[in-house]
Symmetry: D2
Subunit: 406 residues, 4 copies
């Protein structure tokens, strides 16, 4: 019989992480249907994915418990039915109490400003890595886990300019040996540690330091599945569904302006120009990839505290049709960021664990559907990405089907 | 060398028809690029489609010339660059002058109210059909056309309840012999005449009398390609691009409310409850087909004269995500109906002529992409429909590729 | 010392009524600030209005308690903070338990369909009136109330065509004597009973049977202040703020299309064409009054259950400016109907009780601000209506100011 | 008999200016009704304003004629009916040919980059002023004008930090004498010259150098009416109509986010951070003034070339109602900037000329309605501003009414 799988969340006190845990607990209690989870659809019927009941949650965060938030977490019921919040509350709080401090090495001011429970400085990068690895080993050992999947849900870091040490594992090792902290960010250390511990790793953030070519190559060498970057939960999701419409009808997109407002911690951190830069870079790739040309396009992000977790995006698409006529489509998206992200995290944990068991290593391109900038994938149309997942599921089912016969 | 192809437009003085002709003339003069035409993309590179330069336009309309509109047409430049309108004006007016009267047999009050130039009553259905066939033959003969493609662009008729005579060709023939006018509508007579004359026939309207199973079977027997119904140009186009997003992410659509306002002749006719009924039936099928369930959904249509041809649609989509949270997406579409429809008409004329030449008969499911309710097709997702067209194009190219070798 | 004032709510189990009571209780406990209440602003500082703490709530409803809703009410916390709902819950439920059955005489099918706890048939109109008056007297007596204000919050009734008996008190009396039930509706009986009992009466619904000229004249004769009709809480509120902008800038409104979707009981009842008719008539007057001409305008209302109390309205305003150019403004309003209505009810109760004490009788035009179709008022611009209230408040303060002198 | 009035436009080749002239010519030819002009409404019936037929246009611009734009102007028919454009074309072009070069002294990079036809450097500020005054005198003389009104329609300059020389006329004169170019901008020179020549002056731009306290005081001393700043034509117009709704209903505005996209020259210049700063400062004052507190609010402006003159603004208003519930209102404004601005320019020219004739001097607060930040006015509510204009009109009419009697 199969054992349990650990889910190690970086940024475990944030609102996505607490929603992931709340949802998993509510699913276990059969209080909610698995709406929003792709792995709960017919597509994966018969595939031997880990059950939600067999997940155990742990992780770290750079923030500490405060009086306001007993567990120091962002958790407030928000859009969640208070009866669910009440029912799972005790177990959720128990899990949050087990969250330990994290690292914020070279993460920039905005993130450093949040940090209350980071580890004591003084050690080298190698020391930090060893500490993270020890945490992962202890989580596996104490909870008697078969596997541990690591998911990066931390705040967006400023972008890193890539050099040779981000391309090749050996150069990366040398850089770590030399303790070149300016070449990496906190998320690099987690990814490196996870891969070295044989833990599948998912980068749900736009931080480019969290999964770069050298890390991917290392994952291939170590036989570990990894994937990123930047969970596709709102405006970009709609973009990747709508842009193909213009392409397949040969309508010329002249301008695509997007304006996002949000009020959660993500919004607060993105309010800092450097961190926002990471996000906007990630969002901007979609159109050019789908349309085959880059229309005039800007994506604005503003922090509007009163919105809390309810992200609102207005997009204005100006396009040209037959005989040169200009027309427009605009949309307003109003979605709870964490509610949209959480089921994807569970999906990816299940699929990453499955991939590891099947001996897959390196990038998991069939997860492109879940990311704003899916690594190693040139396909940005949502439906085409969905077909990639369907094809994978079909391939897997075929492979698993027992041979019957005389 | 290949000759010319005739395009016979039913409703030839309407705004879609005049935009089709204006656009074809402007393309011929190289005044505009072929934006909005799918057959002008790489997909059909190398396929031997008829050239726009080789199309000749004719047709009929139930309205007459008036003082206000010298040619009796809806044509006003609207969103079209006045320089284009001026340049193609003389040739456009010459073509419109050649448009003859049409039939409005059993089309309901709203349409009868428009009719100024219908044929004299007194004849039987068979007489009417013979007259239409003679028109088609004369068009072919006088313009020295290899083929004639018939496109129904007339106003939306009230829906017809189907009986046995709409199912089987023999029953239909008996019904025509018995002069049962209440069993058919004007659009039936055109379709029947076209098929009998070996002319491919496209129903761009939601009128269900314009192409029903008995007519499709007749087309199969006669070796004539046909397709319908209801050109997909606005709100439904967006719907068929967006609904798959909810499906593939396992988000539950609770309600999808649509509200359309438009001010052209189409809007004026749809202002009549019976005619509107045809349109709404056509729009309502999309969601259930894509989602696999039917959410609460209503589609309203209001006639707002000040908008002219600029159709505006507001859709509000209420959906449920993880942990039961309700979220929403709303969009506003502002498009010129005729501008969006015209290039599709040219696309379908080219593809229908091509299918006839290749010996295809009956429905053309690879044109599903162009219709709100594509006959004989269960696939309503825009991208999946687009792949059907790509597959057709690839198949054709492979078939046409000359065998080279020793 | 002043005593208590009773608030007698017709439709007391509906969501507006339960929100009124919840809010009053929360205000009393100082759990919330008086946001949304006009009488809580500086404007009424110093005016001797009844305190929220001195209000007592009672009323009737045609629905009974069910298992689902222990008190038979629409109350679900909805957008209200669960902590508030919990804190005031016991007292709210106690009040709801005291709500007795109501009458649905001649209210049409939609409303009759809801009725579970109507009084037994068999009596005459005069019997029904006497029963209501007795209820009001008992409420006053048992709760030791100085005054009782009656507020009609019941579902919208179908419109009544006015005749002579709706014009003059004597004719109305004769009609009641003759037991002509088809000339009145339930709301007429409540209004008549209230006026006869000397209770100020506010018609918060669009039902025109609830306050017609004969009743207003009767109120004048009896020295009772009354006002209506149709609380202005959403789309029409915005309309009355925006339409003056076009007027004062001499921009020509060509079309003003509104589309409302809502999911509460109000929406369910308005789903019936007759009842909807009342609402739409009420909404349609605003534009013509403000602009001085009637642009093309339609107001649609659809019942969308998933929205619950969150009314969503999309308005599209097409206007013409200088040199004939057409432009547009569209807005989307997303508001909780009951949350918006409840503070107005409290405002009007306070102002009606105040007017009674000051000896005012008949219509209270200074309350125009609160109504979609303020009776006896030709002014529909929101700001002009607000000035009417300011002028009243200033007049009152001046009157109250003690004369000081030598 | 009264003579002609000159209208001297700074930025005379820009799209507002060309629309002003086009409109005036079309009005003169009775091709259009005076939609959008407040002075054409009943309000001013009987007031002795200068007739549109009696206006003569002149002005200057820093750009030169190019091959593309024969007159060097922004003029393209845009939303204007081509028949009007054709009819007034010859006279418009004749006027544009008479436009001479302007000054761009200390206007920042963005504007300097546009300049083709500025005057030769080498002179002092006093020289520049004298040259402008000579232009104004010549315009008056050659066109035999009774009066000349100067309107600043130039591109937005970067904001100026105010010092003593911007407060007092004497200090300003000293600064001009000392040739301190860094203390002024081009718009200062025009304003100074206009006032010294006895020409009423209107600042239609947000540039704060164009009308500061020292200039207003000088205008008072010289008996010249002046007013500014920043024509209220779009988003801010709607804001000033909607914000009072929240105030008068005691609803708490939590956040008001605005996002403007536009594609004309104004947009191109505002794309520069310094110039944008001027605009945003001007827009931000409205809310705090109307609400009495400053909600979270940001106003974004992006340059989207494909939109040309069609400015599109999306505003999202988050507000709190009774019981703490959060709700929202969003609007999308789609208006042609020049079409909206042009009639206001004509209105203000007429009213400024009228004020001069009546002996008014200094600021014209009754024009508050036309400006985003009306100088010397604390009232920002649109309707209240409109009443200020009504009161002025009524006062004037009363004053003018001839005394009749024995």
């Amino acid at each position: 019989m199969r054992g349990k799988t650990g889910v190690y969340l970086i940024g475990a006190l944030g609102s996505i992480a607490t929603t992931v845990v709340t949802g998993a607990l509510a699913l276990r209690e059969r209080m909610i249907p698995p709406i929003g989870m792709v792995t709960a659809t017919d597509v994966f019927e018969g595939a031997d994915l880990v059950r939600i009941e067999d997940l155990e949650f742990g992780g770290c965060d750079i923030r500490c418990a405060t009086d306001e938030h007993p567990a120091g977490s962002d958790f407030d019921a928000g859009p969640i039915d208070p009866r669910i919040a009440e029912a799972v509350g005790p177990e959720l709080r128990a899990i949050l109490k087990g969250i330990h401090g994290g690292t914020a090495t070279n993460c920039g001011e905005a993130i450093a400003g949040l940090a209350g429970c980071t580890r004591q400085d003084g050690g080298t990068l190698r020391d930090e890595i060893e500490e993270i690895r020890e945490r992962l080993r202890r989580f596996r050992r104490l909870s008697r886990l078969d596997e541990v999947v690591v998911v990066n849900l931390a705040s967006t870091e400023p972008p890193l300019e890539f050099e040779v040490c981000h391309e090749f594992p050996a150069a990366l090792e040398a850089c770590l040996d030399a303790n070149r902290a300016e070449k990496i960010r906190a998320s690099t250390l987690y990814a490196y540690a996870a891969i070295r511990e044989g833990c599948p790793y998912v980068n749900f953030t736009p931080s480019n330091a969290a999964l770069f070519p050298a890390l991917v190559r290392l994952a291939e060498q170590c036989g570990v599945p990894v994937m990123g970057s930047d969970g596709k939960t709102g405006e970009t999701l709609v973009k990747s569904a709508l842009a193909p419409m213009f392409a397949c009808r040969n309508l010329e997109v002249l301008s695509w302006e997007g304006f996002n407002i949000l009020g959660n911690m993500d919004g607060r951190v993105l309010n800092h120009p450097q961190n926002k830069e990471s996000k906007i870079r990630s969002k901007d790739r979609v159109l050019a990839k789908i349309l085959g040309y880059a229309p005039h396009s800007r994506t604005g992000i503003d922090y509007v505290p009163s919105l809390d977790d309810q992200k609102t995006a207005w997009d204005f698409i100006h396009f040209r049709g037959f005989l040169g006529a200009k027309m427009s489509l605009q949309f307003t998206w109003q979605g709870y960021d964490s509610i949209l992200a959480a089921p994807l995290v569970l999906d990816m944990v299940r699929l990453a664990e499955f991939a590891l068991r099947r001996g897959e290593a390196g990038l998991m391109p069939h997860l492109a559907l879940f990311f704003k900038t899916p690594m190693g994938v040139e396909e940005y149309s949502l439906e085409a990405q969905y077909r990639m997942l369907l094809d994978y599921a079909n391939g897997v089912r075929t492979a698993l089907r027992p041979v019957t016969g005389p």
